[in-house]
């Protein structure tokens, strides 16, 4: 098993990665708290990797509902015109 030399990763990179992960997971936790009941899962998954969970969350809870709403509105619009 290849071992990483701790000195090969600079401290600023470690701090930067930790900050990015923390911000991402906090966003996921706080945002999903209002929209779903699985906010702990989203928060914890957001702590492990970047940007996979963020992309998945955006697709599932932001993009898809918006798209659905837009399609519904369009249908209503055409329905009233007919």
């Amino acid at each position: 098993m290849p071992k990483t030399n701790p000195e090969s990763v600079p401290l600023w990179a470690v701090v930067l990665i930790a900050c990015i992960l923390l911000i991402q997971s906090l966003f996921l936790f706080i945002h999903s708290r209002r929209h779903t009941k699985y906010y702990w899962i989203w928060g914890i998954v957001g702590l492990i990797q970047f940007p996979g969970p963020l992309v998945a969350y955006w697709l599932v809870h932001i993009y898809w509902p918006l798209r659905k709403e837009r399609l519904k509105n369009r249908k209503h619009q055409y329905g009233s015109n007919e």
């Binding site: 098993m1 990483t4 906090l26 702990w40 702590l47 492990i48 898809w64």
Partner: protein, 137 residues
Amino acid sequence: MKWNKEERERSADLNKQERAHAEIVHEEPFAEDQALIAQLMQGFEQMELAIRQPEPPPLHELERFVAVEKRKLRRRAGLEVALFLIMALAIIGGNMLLASMNIVVFAVIQGLVFVGAIAFAFRFFYRSKKKVKSGHA
């Protein structure tokens, strides 16, 4: 001819009598219904008199209740975020330790989480599409 006339008069009399009898028979239940309705209405009126009008709760009490509940919710949210931050520090620390100790395992975990998250999103996507197509909620 005379006989016929008499017969006709008799049948007309009979018809009249029958009609009068039918009216009496019809009127009797109608009067009974009216009496029952009047009784029922009286009962309702008595009930309305017996039940006193509920007073709406004072507005300031409601406002106080809402404020207390809001404060509770905010405190709970703050506690949850604090707990999450503590857990976050532990998980990030563990991740960093893993990365410094064994980069391959760390990379494998990262890849798995990435693939899992994207797969979950696409699964959700196709499931929703199927639901929309089939018309089920």
